[in-house]
């Protein structure tokens, strides 16, 4: 059962949000896969732990869609790594993702924070 639940959680993270998170991370500068995982973990205060099994397929998908570009570079620690950079189209996509995300948050929020008497009337 536990294995199944794991998959389930990952799907929920996947649906729409992972792409946006990756694009947002790349807004701050080109980054490699490991760097993206670390950045997301740090920024979210250790809450978001992105699975590599989701990250790399997502990166390669974004690249195919032309939202990111990649190149091989040396890292500060002399490690050759593949760096991803957000493209102009990627920025547009990020803006639209963000807009949708805000609408969802707002919508969910307005459902969740309704006062009890209002919902009963």
């Amino acid at each position: 059962m536990s294995e199944k639940d794991q998959y389930k959680n990952r799907i929920e993270l996947l649906q729409g949000t992972l792409d946006m998170l990756i694009l947002q991370t790349l807004q701050w500068g080109p980054q490699h896969g490991y760097g993206i995982v670390q950045a997301l973990r740090l920024r979210s205060g250790d809450v978001l732990q992105v699975e590599t099994g989701s990250l790399y397929p997502a990166l390669h998908r974004l690249e195919r869609q032309g939202w990111v570009q990649s190149e091989w570079k040396q890292s500060e620690s002399k490690q050759r790594a593949r760096y991803y950079r957000i493209t102009a189209r990627g920025k547009k996509q990020l803006a639209s993702d963000l807009g949708r995300w805000e609408r969802i948050v707002e919508a969910i929020g307005s459902v969740m924070y309704v006062k009890p008497e209002e919902s009963e009337s």
Binding site: K4, G33, Y56, A58, H60, Q79, A81
Partner: protein, 879 residues
Amino acid sequence: MKWFPGFGFQRRKRELQEEIDAHLQMAIADRVARGEAEETARRAAAREFGNIPLVQDVTRDMWGQGGLEQLGRDIRYALRQLRKSPGFTIAATAMLTVAICANSTVFSWIDGTMLRPIPGARDTGDLVTLQRGERNFSPTPPFSYLDYRDLREQNHTFAGMLAYHNDWIALTGGAQPERVYIANVSAYFFDVLGIKPALGRFFLPEEETRRGAVPEVILSSSLWKTRYAADPAIVGKSIEVSRHPLTVIGVAPEGFIGAAPGLRDDLWVTLDPLGNDGWRMSHRDSDWLILIGRLRPGVSRGQAAQDLDTQMHHIVVAYPDQHLGDNRITLDPMWRSPFGVNGLMSATLPILLAFAALVLLLTCANVATLTLVRFVSRRRELAIRQSLGANRMQLVRQMVMEGALLSIVAGAVALLLTLWTSKSFGWFFPATSNPLVLNGTMDHEVVIGIVLFSLLSGMLCGALPAWRSSHAPAVEVLKAESASISGGSRNRKLLSGLVVAQIALSLPLLLCSGLFLRTLKNLAGANPGFEQDHILTASVGLSIAGYSRDETMVIRHKILDRVSALPGVKVASLTNWIPMTLIQKKSDAYPEGYAPRPHESLQVLMVDVSPRYFESLHIPVLEGREFTPDDKDKAPMVVIVDQTAAQHYWPGQDPLGKRLRVVGDGPLFTVVGVVRNSTHTFVNESPEPIVYRSIFQEGGVETTVQVETEGNPVDLAPAVENAIHSIDTRLPVFDVRPMRESTQMASTFAVLQSTLAGMFALIGLVLAVTGIYGVVAYRTQMRTHEIGIRMALGASRVDVLRLVLVQGLWLTGIGLALGLAFALGLTRFIARLLYGIGANDPVTVASVVMLLGAMSLLACYLPAHRAMRRNPVTAIREL
């Protein structure tokens, strides 16, 4: 496993590996920096990363429709899946191979006969063949030379029109005369067909009527090779045909065998090469030519027929006495040309191809069932892939690829098999005196056909289950317990539908094969009206070898005397025709005082026979007498007619003493006898009038000795041949065989139909029964747990048996009902091929329904029986 190892793909694969390695290295470095031991850090980083091959696999899925690379990956994936279940793979491939091979074999026969009516000719689709008068499956040559000339020169719709006439003749000059099939051909014969000479030249247009010059001949490629050792200097040499010297002017290209589909010409000469056939060339009532025209571009067959009808009408008005009877002209495309064999082929082969297509559909339904059952057990794997980001299109593609792989392999094997089975067509045709060249061909069209059959079956086998599976929501599948995996209601419906389809498709196959088998039995048991069991026939090439008419008559008498004297011979007679060999000898008959109805054909069967012919065949003479040796040259001309002719021409009168002409202005023949009707061509023919002339009064070209023997006719063959050769060693004797063998020709197509339909029906039965067995067994297995609980709660074994049987029987019942409706709708298409049995014969219908029902019952009973005998305790434990 290197499938399409594109450089790009390999490079990206390497880069992904490097990218993952870098990720791990950085993770380890971070951990080491935080103070972990190197070994611990390595293990932790690897654990954190997860399943590397799976990540790689799913990531590669993202690389998308990179053409060949994508295809290569789909193929690899499909191969991996197929290798996991070898039983399914082998069974499905074998079934598809058989089904595709059945289709491609029949198609290769169609291709070799109907689709390539004249090998070597250009654009045979523009060629049409002309019939005059009543349409007939095997008409005699319908046109006279002068009518042909008028039609050729006055029509407005043909780019060209050729005429030919076939006959047997002998190549003399060698040690033994060799019988060959010759064609007299008109001007433009080769031009209309679009044939170019391999050596020398073809006839010039002015040679059609030019007389007196040295006669010229063109050789077929095969004759040139076999008899003249492919002599490159053959052009200009002289060969002897019927004791006349002819000059070879050309050799036809390899493969070209003449204009009559399925018949082989060896030699071509002009219409009147020796200048001694002036009568045929100058009389409009001498019909001896077969016409083929090439339509002008843009002209339809209907327009051309109308044009020719108008021209023919002018001719009939100008020469009414030479054109009594029906003169309407009809045109046929070459694929169903009645001259040659295609008329018969086109009645049989398309029906057999339809049967084969049913078998293919049935097989696809069966393989789809198996695939679906397999996919149900793979739904978890598919759902996981989907949740990792593989889109539905990819999943569908991968599943379709499995079906496609199976059918490609099956198609490839079928292709190899068809190389051999296409040649099996010839086996169905018994030894015959016709120069038949019949066989399937294996050319690019058949290969394209096989590819299409494979694609179709691949789509049906793979796409159906794929479409079904791609609709399963991933989360639901992952959550689902195994029990409900087995029985999603939509899945169950599709499986049931496939089983019903298999039963419904196999029933028409069984019914048709049953009807064909009964037809064959009826044909074999039918009385043809003449004795054929103790008869030996031998043909003697008298006139083809160049004997004069007077010599022929003398030799005929001698043959009769010598053969009659042989020990073991009961009765010997002569004839120029053997019944039920697909050969028809026809001529116009003009009974004195008989007024034909408008458009009535005056053609009757007309054969020449000797005294004691009817005695040897046991055909009773009902009135008057048989021929006697005195019915010869100078005596009064006499004929004998059969009952049909007597009733047709002289209803209610005594036919004896009545008179008829054979040629419009020829001599009058007096009827001296009436014989009982007998079969002429097919057992199931409608009776046609026949007129017998005395062979000693008519100098017809063929002579066949017909001997009624005491014992086995084969034993007498050498003695008969020797007796004939004792008259003249140079006499060509051929086609020496028991009559029973020759008359098999009449049931060839019935044998062909019932053999193939029987084979197809057997395949259909096996597929349908294994199909229903597979589904019922699978479902029962899935319900093992439930059955165990039921039994633990007190259900008896009979209850369990009933539970399992009922669902199988429901499917069978629905399948039988649908199949019966389908079958009864289809049998009318084969009605005209049946004999002695109705297309919806209740006994046959009942027996095939019972057979299929019983087999299905058995197929359901086996899993039911197994379920019944399970120990409830182990059944519950098993999940």
